[in-house]
């Protein structure tokens, strides 16, 4: 399984425009979920950069550097595709971290220059979990095909975030 399956045109785009600049319009997506569990419990699920298992499509996480800035990880997705990422900011006290994708095929996730932030905000027995992303569309040149457009990128990222947040909610509310 991949983040998203795309038409063959995606592969072509990767090859042809790999050396070119990204599109001119960066996009953003922000998804949040309210979880009926304390923040510490939610942070225990999402707060280890070396464990991406809270993202449903992730099968395996391998990396180095722990939770230090510049730590790296490679997510292997169900189906075999990989995503390489690097930690940019990490604050255990504020329960937030920011990382970037350093390598991904647009067939896996139709984005370029992707960065994202995970935030855990506690309020007693409840927690708000937020996942925000900033990225350019998969197609680097002008007039993108529909599968690599700004909207396609936003839809893919938003879908990934929602499914992952739901998964964390289920996990956190299930256990004691």
């Amino acid at each position: 399984m991949k983040f998203r399956t795309l038409a063959a045109v995606a592969a072509l785009a990767t090859v042809t425009f790999a050396a070119q600049a990204h599109g001119p319009t960066r996009q953003k997506v922000s998804e949040s979920i309210e979880i009926n569990a304390p923040a510490d419990k939610v942070w225990a699920i999402v707060g280890n950069f070396q464990d991406g298992s809270w993202i449903p499509v992730v099968e395996k996480t391998e990396g180095k550097g722990g939770n230090e800035v510049k730590a790296t990880r490679t997510l292997t997705l169900k189906g075999g595709a990989t995503v390489e990422e690097e930690l940019a900011k990490y604050d255990a006290e504020k329960k937030t971290f920011m990382y970037r994708i350093t390598k991904v095929d647009v067939k896996t996730l139709p984005v370029n220059d992707y960065s994202s932030t995970v935030e855990v905000e506690g309020d007693g027995s409840k927690t708000k979990l937020t996942w925000k992303g900033a990225f350019y569309r998969g197609y680097m040149n002008n007039d993108p095909p529909p599968d690599l457009s700004d909207d396609a990128a936003k839809t893919a990222v938003s879908g990934l975030y929602k499914a992952s947040l739901e998964n964390v909610k289920t996990k956190a509310e299930k256990g004691s």
Partner: protein, 342 residues
């Protein structure tokens, strides 16, 4: 020195035709010049409040923000992901680029209305205005060219194009209107172009992926924000070469000058790095909003305004104390890439 430098920083705004200044008081020549500049500025803008013209790229709008009251005065819908902006020499018009809608929108800032639109091929993004002729230069992000537009009473007309390096981005024109400088993002260089012949006369190597390009207030030096090498290059325009570099935060984007200091937005660090443009030494950093992009100094040089793309706000910075003095909410995805303060 600092005082003199500060008055210099406001010179670009004094380019419009003005009556001769009355004699200033004060002793030395520098002081007299400074007062003359101040008087010129007062004469130029007696009643107009300082405004920021914000391109809200994801909101598909251009907003006119009053910096004194910190309120959005007008919201003008502009489709096509408006991003770049430049103002006419008399500051009555805004030229806004639309990289997705492929063109330029001309806005009359007096009536706060769209005057006209001009379709352009490619990805119009960077934009600059010739302070003497009023010609408008628009960079095509997807090609190796800058379009030349001539202002008309109705808007602008396409006059021609000038060959540049790859992915031309930031644009500036020297105060005499004779030289156009273009940062070539994918060519790691700056094109120096003779405005009269519309030909590139020199190409200057800079850091990796220069995006924003800003002139020193006296117009003798150009500075590029190099997004991949995380530094700012200084260029001596007359000598045609890079003279120095200063390290910045991550992904420096655009540069402004105020109070004799340089300020660059660090897109990935959510900071503004202050530097000394003479020594190219870092002076400090200021925490601003998420993904800061466009940056410019107010006419009086007392405030640096930053557009924070990520959290939809403007940060106002005191260039002396290096602190944020106010934050103003904007529409979605403010970029204001260019000369956006009126």
């Amino acid at each position: 020195m600092m005082q003199a430098a500060r008055s210099m920083t406001v010179l670009p705004w004094a380019r419009r035709p003005l009556p001769s200044p009355s004699a200033g008081k004060g002793g030395g020549r520098v002081v007299r010049q400074r007062l003359a500049v101040s008087l010129l500025l007062l004469a130029a803008t007696p009643a107009t409040a300082q405004e920021a013209i914000v391109t809200a790229q994801l909101g598909n709008a251009v907003e006119i923000v009053d910096l004194a009251t910190k309120k959005i005065l007008h919201t003008i819908p502009v489709a096509g992901a408006p991003a770049g902006i430049a103002l006419s020499p008399d500051r009555s018009r805004a030229y806004v680029t639309r990289p997705e809608g492929h063109g330029v929108t001309v806005i009359d800032l007096e009536s706060q209305k769209v005057l006209s639109e001009l379709g352009l091929p490619g990805g119009p993004l960077g934009v600059g205005v010739n302070p003497k002729s009023g010609e408008v230069y628009v960079a095509d992000w997807f090609a190796e060219r800058v379009f030349v537009l001539r202002p008309t009473p109705e808007g602008v007309s396409l006059e021609g194009e000038i060959a540049t390096g790859k992915s031309p981005s930031g644009i500036a024109v020297t105060p005499d209107g004779a030289t156009l400088l273009v940062a070539n993002r994918e060519s790691d260089s700056v094109s120096v172009i003779d405005v009269a012949s519309r030909k590139e006369t020199r190409r200057i190597a800079v850091g990796s992926h220069p995006f924003g390009l800003t002139l020193s207030p006296d117009g003798t030096r150009a500075y590029t924000a190099n997004v991949l090498s995380d530094d700012v290059s200084a260029i001596d325009i007359a000598a045609g070469r890079e003279t120095g570099r200063v390290g910045t935060g991550q992904r420096p984007y655009v540069i402004a000058f105020a109070g004799g200091r340089g300020f660059v937005t660090d897109q990935y660090s959510n900071t503004v790095t202050a530097f000394d443009p003479a020594t190219m030494r870092k002076l400090g950093t200021v925490d601003v909003g998420d993904h800061p992009e466009g940056i410019a100094a107010t006419r009086d040089g007392n405030t640096v305004v930053v557009a924070n793309w990520g959290d939809n706000s403007l940060s106002l910075i005191d260039p002396t104390s290096l602190t944020v003095t106010a934050t103003i909410e904007t529409g979605d995805g403010p970029r204001s890439f260019g000369d956006f303060l009126r």
